[in-house]
Amino acid sequence: MTAVTHTLHRRGNVESLSDDYVILVMSAKGINDKGSAEKLKRALEIAARHNAVNFGDMKNGNLFRVGSKVVFDGIRDTSIVHAVYTNKKDLCESLADLKEADLGMSVVVSGLFDEVSGCLETIGMKPHTVQFSLGIFGKQDLLPKEEILEITTMCGHHQVSPLLVQKLLNDVRRGKVSPEEAGRTLAKQCVCGVFNPVRATRLLCALMER
């Protein structure tokens, strides 16, 4: 299952999304993919060192499931690597270093458009192509509550079950796990490593107070 739109439809308002940015790096099949593994590895090294709170690649898994070494060792020409940040500063510095490295790989940022545009401007870059989310159509009554969706949609392949969120929320309430542990458990489920465990922890804490 290739990533197509897996970071596009993250839910939440502007305030809620202000600590959620994802970088994706990949080669284009049949054009610049041959010998791209080393470039992708270099890109992930750069992306990870700017305080990334999660990273991974779809085929190998993420930081929380398989650990850093397996992620890096498993990078191939066809890999799609990701890193997650909780603030604009880390995102901007990561992008600036990726620009400097000039690896020739495609880089896509997911996050608030205004913040991402501002970041690009400060480092002398311009958006090339943009993708908008027009939201969810159809039978809305089949969906879990919005506050649960804010958590589960951080895994675009929907490998994070709303029932698991509810279970962990109950576990946190009973003192069986900390909110941080619950955030990391949820992050394990998202193979690609695009789930933001820090935001999930914050959202779980907010749910606790309701």
């Binding site: 197509v4 596009l8 499931r65 020739g104 997911s110 969906l143």
Partner: protein, 206 residues
């Protein structure tokens, strides 16, 4: 079992303490489910790798989306509801009438009996899947028509779908697709995806 989409999240989570959840051998057409459900599986029978394509993510290198077209990605069954190809067909046929051109390398297109009308092959129609991506391009000026068609058909399906649309940013920074969305009061979220143009060799965009 009918409702299981073979996403294998249960295996990956190691949730069962006695290891009682077992993977069973799948036969056609159920064997297509993991292809659309499990993140890490590619399906042998379709020979088309993945749930979708590179789409806008490599547009700086491929030049697939120029200034005069909008690329749509309709994630049917997402988030977390699942769908059948019956509903996929309804949506595909609705957008086909507005001039949609389906992406030939996309696995949903692979399962179309008629790639002009969006009609799906009979042998897969009742299969329940986790989600799939219907990808198509449409002329820029037809963007509102396509969105209207999606809004109309959304009343006829027994699922949800998440809609995305992408376009090339003009050299002066204008985003024509965004302008059309706003002129037609079409809702779009404050967050989305931005290809920052670092890929090489640069594609010539027309």
């Amino acid at each position: 079992m009918d409702k299981c989409t073979e996403c294998y999240a249960c295996f990956r989570s190691s949730i069962c303490p006695t290891d009682a959840i077992k993977e069973s051998a799948l036969v056609w057409p159920r064997s297509l489910r993991p292809f659309f459900g499990s993140v890490q599986i590619e399906h042998k029978e379709t020979r088309v790798p993945g749930r979708g394509t590179e789409e806008m993510k490599t547009n700086d290198v491929t030049g697939r989306f120029g200034y005069d077209k909008i690329g749509f990605s309709v994630d049917i069954g997402r988030p977390g509801v699942g769908t059948t190809f019956d509903d996929v067909e309804k949506i595909a046929m609705a957008v086909a009438k507005t001039g949609a051109e389906f992406e030939p390398m996309n696995p949903v297109t692979f399962f179309m009996a008629d790639k002009k009308t969006g009609r799906i092959r009979d042998d897969v129609k009742t299969e329940k899947i986790h989600s799939c991506v219907l990808e198509f391009t449409i002329r820029l000026d037809r963007l509102p028509k396509a969105v209207n068609a999606l809004a109309e058909v959304s009343k006829e399906v027994d699922t949800v779908f998440s809609v995305g649309c992408c376009c090339k940013v003009s050299p002066d920074g204008t985003i024509l697709g965004k302008r059309i969305l706003e002129e037609n009061s079409i809702f779009h979220r404050p967050n989305g995806k931005t290809n920052v143009g670092l890929g090489k060799p640069h594609a010539e965009i027309r």
